[in-house]
């Protein structure tokens, strides 16, 4: 795995997240967390325990910017735990995913399923934990759907532009 590339991508994505995507105002229900791009597109060369630790650290960094200690961390650990299971279901021979996880190695259909399922899971976890009660359930579901659509479009767009 090329660490420099991963870190540069993380810094750029976090800047976009904090300076652009956190400032969106759309009836208070659009909070896309595009930083999951870094977690989703990370190659699967590392042991799964390190994957989860990286998820925990990246989630914690986001929590510091959102004043939501633990919320993003919980969702990112969950995401990194589920990721290899989902990939083994979606792709038959997962050997070729070691070098790169992208449109080229996954194919369009598997990539879309992979991104949609994990982004929905991640965003739902975040908004449920952030609301911290069942009173706002309808609001949370609407928030999850609207925000996920934006995040999914950004991640798929990134892949199409980069690996077409």
């Amino acid at each position: 795995m090329d660490w420099t590339k991963q870190i540069v991508r993380y810094v750029v994505v976090m800047l976009l997240q904090v300076l652009l995507f956190d400032q969106l105002q759309l009836m208070g229900i659009c909070h896309p967390y595009i930083y999951v791009l870094c977690l989703l597109m990370m190659p699967i060369t590392l042991p799964r325990i390190s994957d989860m630790l990286i998820g925990a650290v990246i989630g914690l960094m986001m929590d510091i910017f959102c004043n939501s200690l633990g919320v993003h961390m919980t969702a990112c650990i969950l995401l990194m735990y589920v990721r290899p299971y989902l990939l083994s279901v979606l792709v038959n021979e997962s050997d070729r995913l070691n070098e790169q996880l992208s449109l080229r190695t996954l194919g369009m259909e598997a990539l879309v399923k992979y991104v949609v399922i994990l982004v929905l899971l991640h965003h739902l976890a975040i908004f449920l934990l952030a609301a911290w009660s069942w009173h706002h359930l309808g609001f949370v579901v609407a928030e999850t759907i609207v925000s996920s659509i934006v995040t999914i479009v950004v991640i798929l767009g990134y892949n199409i532009l980069k690996y077409r």
């Binding site: 904090v18 300076l19 956190d22 105002q25 208070g28 909070h31 799964r48 325990i49 989860m52 630790l53 925990a56 989630g59 914690l60 929590d63 510091i64 910017f65 004043n67 939501s68 200690l69 633990g70 919320v71 961390m73 919980t74 650990i77 969950l78 735990y81 934990l129 952030a130 609301a131 911290w132 706002h136 609001f139």
Partner: protein, 260 residues
Amino acid sequence: MQNLLKILLRYSNFLVFVLLEVAAFMLIVYNHAAPRSSVLSTANSVAAWQYETVSNVTGYFHLRQQNDQLARENAALRNQLAAAEGAEILSYQSAKVVQMTTNRLHNYLTINCGAEDGIQLGQGVRNEDGVVGIVRTVGSHYSVVMPIINTQNNLSCRFRKNDYIGTLQWDGKDNRFALLTDVAAHMVVNVGDTIVTSGLSPVFPEGIPVGIVENSVLYEGDSYYTIRVRLSTNFKRLKYVEVIHNADQNQIEALTDGLD
């Protein structure tokens, strides 16, 4: 023993997953009890510095409005000075808002004053229009404030016309409105009634504007009104705030804490 080790090794991924999730979940619970970790929040200097830099740049685009607001604020301060003869226990510390959210259920704002400027946990925050919120986290140079547009916040208020007391809560929907509860059905509520702070807690002195009644409904069979209040403070335009130092706050809180 060997079998146990085998099982542990076999499920090591799952065990690490559970351990990490439990740790993260404990952080959430701890943060909900009282968000006061100044390192792991926007009271942290690095995160706050980044927001402050951005707000310095974008600040140029609002200079005209800022000037108007500062002029009004100066006038309000002079009035306060004139009226302050009898209220020497109160003093105000001006602070700039460096980061704020208005579109979540749990909104927070970060101000550029911290422990070294004399900010303490639990102090009230206002601007010249009305109530803003309460200090929840104090770092050395920055603090995080929980505004009244945070669903966790409850504010004790009263009607200016007859001193009737109610509780202000935010429903998470619109940052211009909040709900006033606990107002019994025998009260006469009119649209346009002014709501001010009650002064029942040492956090806010009595009479700071909170908002005006936008509409009130008494549902059949209900013994309390549902009142929608248009907030005096425009949170979308918030740039400068004042932190309220009440010299007696610690003393009063120590007394009431002793009652439990």
